[in-house]
Structure formats: structure tokens, C-alpha cells
């Protein structure tokens, strides 16, 4: 459930994302999930990869600014209301705030996957584990 996400600072101009993706490709790092947040001047690319250490090394070597953050990767039933019932409502009831959420590359199955950043990691993890244990 808990995974390490890499956030990379990118200027908001053509070619910057391409540069990051080239760096990762050359390091043979495969992307599992990618989300972009942007402002007028800059953006943050958030990625989940299989080999975080190798990716971080390649990013640093390329001179990019990056940081790692602990986030949750959670399976979601691929049905209407799945995200709401499995994750969003239980966390809200437990007083956990979701700061952002994006889709993880889905496998061809009945379950989708999402990545979420929350303000209280352990609490959220507990809530979601309990939920799964209860057969949600």
C-alpha cells in the first residue's frame, strides 16, 4: 500500500517534461503512474516507478530538482462509486485529508488503482486496511 513517489520540479515550458522522460527512459526506468500539477511558471511531475533508487539517481545526475514523498497506492473496484466508497468517504470520516490523487496504470482487471497523498499517512493506511479486511 505505501509506496515512494518521486516529485520533480519542472519549468512550465516546452521540452521540460520530455527531458525528464528521456532521462528516465535512458535509465531504463518504467513509469507506473504520472501526474502533472502546474502553475503559470512551473509544475511538479509526480511519478511512481518500479526502481525508485535508480530513478532518483538518474534524475539527480541530470541536474533536476527532485524529492521523494511517501504516498498510498490503493486498489479500487472498477465500478461506479468504487473510489467514493472504498477510499474517499472512509478517509473523510476518519478526518484524513486527501491532498491529491491520481490514477495508477490500471491492469486489465476489475480493479483500478489510484495513488493518493494524504496529510496523515498512518491513519489513512489503517483506515484503508481495515476497510479491505472487512471485505470492501
Amino acid at each position: 500500500m505505501r509506496v515512494t513517489q518521486i516529485s520533480v520540479f519542472l519549468e512550465n515550458r516546452p521540452g521540460r517534461l520530455a527531458n525528464l522522460l528521456q532521462v528516465l527512459a535512458q535509465a531504463k526506468v518504467n513509469l507506473r503512474a504520472l501526474s502533472l500539477a502546474d502553475t503559470a511558471d512551473f509544475g511538479i511531475a509526480r511519478i511512481i516507478v518500479a526502481d525508485t533508487a535508480a530513478a532518483m539517481e538518474a534524475i539527480r545526475r541530470a541536474g533536476l530538482t527532485a524529492a521523494t514523498t511517501e504516498v498510498l497506492r490503493v486498489e479500487v473496484p472498477d465500478v461506479p462509486g468504487g473510489l467514493e466508497n472504498t477510499i474517499v468517504v472512509p478517509l473523510a470520516e476518519a478526518g484524513v485529508n486527501i491532498e491529491y490523487l491520481y490514477a495508477h496504470s490500471g491492469r486489465p482487471s476489475e480493479r483500478a488503482e489510484v495513488v493518493l497523498k494524504v496529510d496523515r499517512l498512518e491513519k489513512a493506511e489503517q483506515v484503508l486496511k481495515d476497510r479491505l479486511a472487512n471485505g470492501a
Partner: protein, 435 residues
């Protein structure tokens, strides 16, 4: 028109005699009253009586902007505090501003040179002067105010900002004279056009523009858009403020009030005085200042001097519009900005690396100052709001420290060009100097 015919049209020989008398008195004064000068004089083997001719001026040591900083706030004053009636301030090269002081006598001198300045534009007591120079620590507002009152004109102390109201007042009060920075003059014209007002149809007929360099092309643009005669004025707070020199109606150089400000042009590299007509750095000595006399101040402005009499009748020397700077000082919206000041502010913000670039542009006629700062791992976190907070913090600190609104742009590491030796900190996209 000439306000002080005696001092503005005196023969060169009479002027030189007056200058020598005043220089001798001033040199003795600073030697007696200012420890800084006494020490400098002694280092150069000089005493209070070393000036026997105007040529001896070249023996005196130079004074630099940094000397104001090293003697902050008032270590260069030549009078006790109780004789100081006014303080103004301008930018320093680092965190502290440059403080300048005036006695009642200095205010009188300043008022007179500003009366001469404004009269040089053909302004009389029948005029209405719209004074949009900033009032406050900046010398522009009050300098023009006192001079315009001295000649009996009606002064509107509008100061800076609230542009729409300014345009309304110009129309309603029948202003005939506009005093502001040249870039603000263009901004006024543009803002007026947006309001459906054509300032060429207003009563404005003369503009006295300064506090920042501007090109001949910009003069033509201002004259065309505002329908007035645009005159250039030069001054600096270390010397007195506005009122050091001004153009007359012939627009052929700025007449320097040489009975108060002794003028030299020196080679910026060696400090060697250059003959009249050669281009170099302007060096000024205040002959009559009481509170803060300054000996051979290196202005950093590049210009040349013409001592031929002017068609207007003045015999005082004329300086060309400054054509550049000897240092990296920028003048943005009339405010002097040194890259070193910006660096000082940036390095006070936690985690900010000393890799930055200053980009100055003239967007929509007003100067735009952008500071690019590289984002390093130490300040970077996963959150947009953290980065936005960093931008805001840098912007606020720059505003607090420099009094200037800058746009802060976060950029990737190593995106700012590294160079060997002196980094290229400033990209100035404006054309402020005529080539």
C-alpha cells in the same frame, strides 16, 4: 527662460573664480568637520589648504557610493544633528539605504536650483505643475515641489500611483507641466487612451522627465503621444537630488549648475581627468552643500561635457544625456537597483542558492523586474503551495528590502547560465540609452 541670470550666464572666468573660492572653503570645511575626509586627505598628503587652483581638484581623493554605506547612516555629515532639517534616502548597494541630509541652507540651495530647472522649461507662475514624482524618502517629489513653489507656479502634489485619478486631475485642473519619470509619462498616455482620453488635447505643454535614463527615441514617442516638449533632468540624491542639470528649450545637452556642482569627466578605469568633449565618467563635487558635502563623487554615469555657450544664453557647461553606467546599477521605475542588493535579500531567504538572474523589460511602457531563482533540493518539496509560498516570500523580502515590486520566477537548477569569473546577473531588454 532663465531664473538666475547671474549664475547661469556668468563668464567662464568669473565662474572659475567663484568655483575656486567655494572649493577652497569646502575642502577646508570637510577636512575640519568630517573625519572620513580628513583621513582620506591625509592619506593623499593633503591638508585643508592644499587647493590653490581648480587644477588641484584632481589631487583630491574620490568618494564612492560604498563610502556612504561604510559611514551609514550619517558618518559623512559635516554639521551637528541639530542643524539637519531633512533626511532623504536612496538605494544602497546592499541592504542599507543611502541616507542624505540637508540643512536649512541646503534646502534653500536645492529650492533655487530646482527653480532654475523648472524655469529652464519655460515654466512660470502662470503654470499648473502636475508633480507625479514620488513624495517621501525619494528626493524627486519634494525637490520639484519646492522649486515649482519658488517660481510661484501652482503645484499639484499628486505623487505616484492612482493613474486614472491623475488623468482626471490633469484634465480638470488644466495642468500645463508634467513632472514624472519618462516611463510613467508614457504609461499615463497609454492609460489615458484606454479611458478614451487623448492627452494631446490637454493643456500639457512641457514635461520635465528624469530619475531614469531614456533614449532619444523615447523622447520622440513621449512628445508625440502627450503633445508636449519633453526635457531631460539629471540629479542624484548623494549630490542633492534633482537639480544638478537640466535641458533648456533647445534640448541640446543638460546645463549643469556649476556654481554649486563642480564637474569633471574622468577615465572610469584610471580615474584620470579627461579634457572637455571626451566621454567618460561624471564626477561631481558639491561646492555649497552644508550637511553632506561630497568631494569628487563617482556618479557611475557615462557622459561628456560641452563648455560652448548655448543658444539659450547660458554659459554653464552642458552634459550629454548619460549613455551608460560604469557599474551594474539598474534604474527601474526611477529606483536605483544594484544586483548586489538583490543577492543580499535572496541569501537571507532560507535555502535559496546564489544562482539568480535579473531580467528587466519594459512591458506596456512600465519597467518590469523579474528575478529568476533556481530551485534546489533544499527548498523543494512535493507541494505546489510550498513553492508558491517561497515565491511569495522572496517577492515580499525584495519589496521590503528594495522598495520595488519584482516578479519572482522559480527555474530549474543550472538553467541560469554559469560563467567563469563574473556571473552575468542582469539581462536588460529595455533600450534605455540612445546608442
Amino acid at each position: 527662460m532663465i531664473w538666475d541670470r547671474k549664475h547661469e550666464t556668468m563668464s567662464r572666468s568669473d565662474l572659475h573664480a567663484l568655483q575656486l573660492e567655494r572649493l577652497q572653503a569646502q575642502a577646508a570645511n570637510v577636512y575640519d568637520k568630517v573625519p572620513f575626509y580628513r583621513q582620506r586627505f591625509m592619506e593623499h598628503g593633503l591638508t585643508s589648504g592644499s587647493i590653490r587652483s581648480l587644477d588641484d581638484l584632481a589631487r583630491l581623493p574620490f568618494t564612492y557610493k560604498r563610502d556612504f554605506r561604510d559611514n551609514y547612516p550619517l558618518g559623512l555629515a559635516a554639521v551637528p544633528r541639530e542643524r539637519i532639517v531633512r533626511l532623504h534616502a536612496s538605494s544602497g548597494t546592499t541592504g542599507k539605504p543611502t541616507i542624505v541630509a540637508y540643512t536649512a541652507g541646503d534646502i534653500e540651495t536645492w529650492t533655487e536650483v530646482m527653480a532654475r530647472t523648472i524655469t529652464s522649461g519655460g515654466v512660470t507662475k502662470n503654470d499648473v505643475v502636475h508633480n507625479a514624482y514620488g513624495y517621501g524618502l525619494f528626493t524627486g517629489g519634494l525637490g520639484f515641489h519646492y522649486g515649482a513653489e519658488r517660481i510661484g507656479a501652482t503645484v499639484i502634489p499628486v505623487s505616484g500611483g492612482v493613474t486614472k485619478r491623475q488623468i482626471m486631475l490633469i484634465q480638470d485642473l488644466g495642468s500645463t507641466v508634467l513632472c514624472c519619470t519618462p516611463s510613467y509619462a508614457l504609461y499615463l498616455a497609454e492609460a489615458a487612451a484606454e479611458m478614451g482620453v487623448d492627452l494631446r488635447e490637454s493643456s500639457l505643454r512641457v514635461g520635465i522627465f528624469g530619475a531614469e535614463p531614456w533614449s532619444e527615441r523615447m523622447r520622440k514617442e513621449i512628445e508625440a503621444k502627450l503633445g508636449l516638449k519633453a526635457l531631460d533632468i539629471y540629479g542624484l540624491s548623494e549630490i542633492i537630488g534633482p537639480g544638478v542639470s537640466v535641458e533648456c528649450e533647445h534640448q541640446c545637452g543638460l546645463h549643469i549648475f556649476e556654481d554649486h556642482f563642480l564637474t569633471e569627466i574622468v577615465d572610469p578605469a584610471t580615474g584620470t581627468p579627461l579634457p572637455a568633449g571626451q566621454r567618460g565618467e561624471l564626477v561631481l563635487t558639491t561646492l555649497t552643500k552644508e550637511a553632506l558635502p561630497v568631494i569628487r563623487y563617482r556618479t557611475g554615469d557615462i557622459t561628456q561635457i560641452n563648455i560652448e555657450p548655448c543658444a539659450c544664453g547660458r554659459t554653464i557647461a552642458r552634459m550629454a544625456k548619460p549613455s551608460g553606467r560604469t557599474d551594474d546599477m539598474l534604474i527601474v521605475r526611477g529606483i536605483n537597483v544594484f544586483p548586489s542588493q538583490i543577492e543580499t535579500v535572496l541569501l537571507q531567504v532560507e535555502g535559496v542558492q546564489p544562482h539568480y538572474q535579473i531580467v528587466v523589460d519594459r512591458q506596456h511602457t512600465l519597467d518590469d523586474l523579474e528575478v529568476w531563482v533556481e530551485v534546489s533540493d533544499t527548498v523543494f518539496a512535493d507541494e505546489i503551495r510550498g513553492l508558491e509560498a517561497l515565491e511569495r516570500k522572496i517577492r515580499d523580502e525584495l519589496h521590503n528590502g528594495l522598495g520595488i515590486a519584482a516578479r519572482v520566477k522559480l527555474v530549474e537548477p543550472r538553467s541560469i547560465q554559469r560563467s567563469e569569473g563574473k556571473a552575468k546577473r542582469v539581462v536588460d531588454r529595455r533600450e534605455v540609452y540612445s546608442s
